[in-house]
């Protein structure tokens, strides 16, 4: 823990720490600087979890709004990026909880050009449906680990859980997905 903090201290330049201190003290221009520096990364992370560009923009704003409100609790000697990513993950998971679990077949038709046959289209639809029925936390981890193939360490840091816990969530998500697909007559 101490080693990580010392490493973080050496990673940041004095100017960066100064900006972080000004942000923690409520300086709007320092917040703007941090926003512009990190907005693309936060957006990229959120869009990987929610897979909806419009929602991801709104959720990026929501993430930075939470960051802005919690600025007094931020320790300027720690990584702003890691803190932002953790908040972004929570915001994205909260969003997934509100998304309807059912996916309409007609919406899926938009993607018909990408798949070869009706059967394959049906399989895709059933898979997405099964995915949406997973608990939000499992969905998020499964999307990041299986679809985007992000490193487990990165996922664990963004969720504030251990790598072992990430692996366990991936395992549970895969088991549930296979079970749901099997119930729909698909044997992946």
């Amino acid at each position: 823990m101490m080693a990580a903090q010392t490493e973080a201290r050496t990673q940041f330049s004095t100017a960066e720490i100064e900006t972080l201190k000004r942000f923690a003290a409520g300086d709007l221009s320092a917040f703007e600087m941090l926003f512009r520096q990190h907005q693309a990364q936060v957006y990229g992370w959120i869009v990987r979890v929610v897979r909806d560009t419009g929602a991801a923009e709104d959720l990026t704003i929501e993430t930075f709004w939470r960051i802005y409100r919690a600025r007094e609790r931020f320790d300027p000697e720690r990584s702003f990026g890691a803190w932002a990513r953790r908040i972004a993950t929570n915001v994205a998971i909260d969003h997934l909880k509100t998304v309807p679990q059912e996916v309409s077949y007609s919406a899926e038709a938009v993607r018909a050009v990408e798949v070869d046959s009706d059967l394959q289209q049906h399989i895709c639809w059933q898979t997405e449906r099964a995915f949406r029925q997973l608990p939000a936390k499992l969905q998020a981890v499964a999307k990041l680990a299986l679809v985007d193939e992000r490193p487990y360490e990165e996922i664990s840091e963004s969720l504030g859980i251990s790598v072992g816990a990430v692996k366990s969530r991936v395992f549970r998500a895969v088991r549930l997905l296979r079970k749901k697909l099997k119930q729909s007559g698909i044997e992946p």
């Binding site: 923009e57 704003i61 802005y68 299986l146």
Partner: protein, 74 residues
Amino acid sequence: MKETNDARFKSLLKQALRPISPELQRDLWPQMLRRIDERSPAKTVPWFDWALLAIVVISNLVFPHSILLLLYQL
């Protein structure tokens, strides 16, 4: 065999989930500024300041001599 299965499963998931671009297309700072303006608490005068002012005004009306005292304090 298991690895082949896992690879097939991953490719099925990738095909099923909408491909997305993780690139941000525009600057979101103007929206952020709007959010800060909308949600920040308005700069209002606290209720006890109004109460204090009311007490001073009433005491000056009831006891006009207190105006001199007030001016002396100022």
